[in-house]
């Protein structure tokens, strides 16, 4: 996994389809390759992989605060936020860890990215905004308020990703059509089935912020 992640780290666009184009053969091959690779490594003579230990100090600007964190160079931004920052930033969710679902979406300098595909060391000197940075339960942004109003979350695990993606999109396009909203969240998966309400909420948020 670490290996493939390194190959993919340049892909910054959250659009799942573009991403798949970028890596070429995903799918069937990847599942098997993962296994075969594990086996080869395990059967090799010196089974201890070359030392990957060793950490570096990274300064991350998270939701307007400079935060120092000690991570391995291979640590993703997502895992740095969730597992290493103290206190943790757990709004972005770990769901697939390979850039297919969008639940870990954060903004890097205002642009949505999958934080599971960004290394923490590559996120220094950038402004990182997570769903927590967009609003709070007491003071939500317009998208967050519209999500509550339109029941656009059920289990809620995909919600931070959708909220972050749509918040960024409405800055770029404040008056989107339904088709444009669908296109904007094509890189985010929901399993409970909130899509129709997510679309409603996004369109309502757009209207609300224009009023």
């Amino acid at each position: 996994m670490t290996k493939s992640r390194d190959d993919e780290k340049q892909v910054r666009d959250p659009g799942r389809r573009k991403f798949l184009k970028g890596v070429g053969i995903a799918g069937a091959g990847a599942a098997i390759a993962d296994h075969l690779w594990i086996e080869t490594a395990a059967e090799g003579k010196d089974a201890i992989p070359e030392s990957l230990s060793g950490t570096v100090k990274v300064a991350l600007n998270v939701n307007g605060q400079m935060r120092d964190v000690q991570v391995e160079p291979r640590t993703t931004l997502l895992n740095a936020l969730r597992n290493h920052l103290e206190p943790a930033v757990t709004g972005p969710k770990l769901v697939c860890d390979m850039g297919t679902c969008g639940a870990c979406t954060v903004l890097l300098d205002g642009k949505p990215v999958y934080s599971c595909l960004v290394l923490a060391v590559d996120a220094t000197s950038k402004q990182i905004t997570t769903v927590e940075g967009l609003g709070s339960p007491e003071n939500p942004n317009t998208v967050q308020a519209a999500f509550v109003e339109h029941d656009a979350s059920m289990c809620g695990f995909c919600t931070p990703g959708f909220v972050t993606t749509i918040s960024a999109y409405l800055k770029k396009n404040p008056n989107p059509s339904l088709a444009e909203v669908r296109e904007a969240c094509k890189g985010n998966f929901c399993r409970c089935g909130t899509y129709p309400k997510v679309f409603e909420a996004a369109l309502a948020a757009a209207k609300g912020s224009q009023a």
Binding site: I32, H35, E72, N79, V89, D97, G99, V148, T159
Partner: protein
Amino acid sequence: MQQQPQPQATPKPKKKIRVPRVVNGVEQMVEIEVDADAGPGWGPNDKHTLLNKRTTRVDGPLKVTGAARYTYDQRLPGMLYGRILRCPHGHARVTKLDTEAASKIPGVKAIVPAPLAEVRFAGGPVAAVAATTPEIAGDALRAIKVTYEVLPHVVHADRAIRPEAPKVVAEENNLQEKGKNGDPQKAEAALATADAIVEAEYISPRIHHACLETHGMVVDYRGGDSATIYASTQGIFTIPGDAAKELGLEESKVVSSVEHMGGGFGSKFGIGTEGMLACRLSKQTKSPVKLMLTRYDEFVMAGNRSGSWQKLKAGVKNDGTIVALTARQYRLGGVGQGSQAGQPYIYRMGDAYREVYALHTNEDSAIAMRAPGHPQASFAVESLVDELAYKIKMDPVAFRKKNLRDEVYHRQLDRGAKEIGWSRRNPVAGGNPGPLKRGMGCAIGTWGGGGNNQCKTDVTISRDGSVVVALGTQDLGTGTRTYTRAIVAEELGLGINDVKEQIGNSKLGAANPSGGSTTAPSVAPSVKDAAIKARMLLAERVAPLLGNAKPEEIVFSGGNVSANGKSVAWKQAAASLPAAGIAAHGEWRADLQARGVHGVCFAEVEVDVETGHIKPIKMVHVQDCGLPLNRLAMESQINGGMIQSLGMALWEGRVMDAQLGMQLNSGLGDYKMPGSLEMPEMVPLIDDEDKREAVIGMSEGCIIPAVGALVNAVFNATGLRVRELPITPDKILMGLMNATKVSTAE
């Protein structure tokens, strides 16, 4: 919690009521006994102030801002990260597990073997590690050397059924008979009297729950005699017993907790193998261990919806009466039993005979998934019914009504037909011109949705006016927190934010696991009972302020407590309480819930016959549920049912490699789920003609009929009957090509 003494009456007179009940997919009316004066009920469904409204969920603000804390978000001091090593073979025995090199990696704290040495499916657990970071845990997995004795495997049903196929379990047949029902001679005789016969096989693959929060837990054990388990679970009380056993503790010393959970859909009961391994790692290290499955693990070892293979033959008279059915049903549950509702499911089919088998393969066990066994049975029988209708040239809606006795379906079919615009439909399948062909289909579904007597609710009112309702249930995203609050607030005449709920912890009053749509009909009556008792206790206290009114005459409304033309504000009423406030305890009441829901789904699709691509255009689902606790959340549940069915009908299915015995589409990038671009216009409709003043679970009911509606819409659009799910473009193109060949040959 101290319980106020309740006036205890001698055994109460009983009254008998008739309620619908679903047995084996077939609904029938049964008589049950309830207390004659069971206390105030819900009242008419249209007279509520908070229930049956569009109420935004109370945990919404937490969920949309990232403040909601899920199991996956738990991070405890000194916590280790667990990972599971998986077997890459379809069937193998572990003969040697060499962990020496792995255990030398700095940061690796423990390695434990999986409970079984024989692994019957690729992806089965072999060992688990705990390390200081997830990355190091991954390094450890790669450094473990496993020696396997590889055994022959079989992963496809059509091969597993052959006598020479490798045995999934030694000495046992892969094919196991599970039951026969009806008289085969009578069914054959009735078939001989039919004017038309349809005989066909229907196949549906295994489907994944794909909960976005994977299975797993954080085991907080640091030595000593107690532990706390943060579990992503649908059943808080299914956790402590098994965890205590693994940790060697007393069950009463183990507490489980789930504040918010990221989806379950039937797959999260008990601690599971991952929980067992997490407990062992925690016990060995005396440290908190977080073991959440990876996405790959989730696909290969967290369960799935049973596949199905059904051979059906039915006969029909020209007037539309179905006279007979014979069915051979295979449940495809991998190493497990699988599930499939018995045919003819909801329909009356005269003389029906069925044989049901479990057919095993070397795959992870199927487990419960939203309406276990029902969408599979519904897909097959709704396809069959549609085929029969077209064969005798009868309208599919009229044909269904002809073979359904329950009037509720008749009204729901009429409403759904109107909403989708059934009159626009071309009755000739494939009859529309051009390469983009539209078509419509429909189907029906049923479910039980009754509650059971497991919930113990406590409502406390403090002297400062604050109100807390508490019980150990869990909110899967269905809105349990919201209606728990709303029931109490409505009873006390307060706003929803005047009441706080405490749920999600095994220290609270008992509650049932959330399966089979039993949560609302189990929780709501108990909460209502507690709320009524709290109101009466407060009324007795406040009576002196209201001209000594009788407690039952005191009105709680709009934040005021009133009687005899006098009124006091809520805060003032509460101030009359003693320092300890009021504590009322609620029990489940059978008369506040019922069983038996009905739903119908209509779908419109557009099929591009040049590419095979299917575009869903519109879906309508009409659902009853007695008293709708929260219309907004119910709409979301109905949407969710339709969308998950859309996946099953058109895109989803586990793909296995025969040679390797492995799942090929074990990630969200290649297991195709419904996404934003594929969403049709969705119309979730609540059937308010249902006047039952009772809470009935509806979440499973609304996932059942949509698959049938979609496949029937594809047929109406193209004239092509696809009998194996999912209906991917290749099946459309191959089917159309073969149909052309046949007609050319003719």
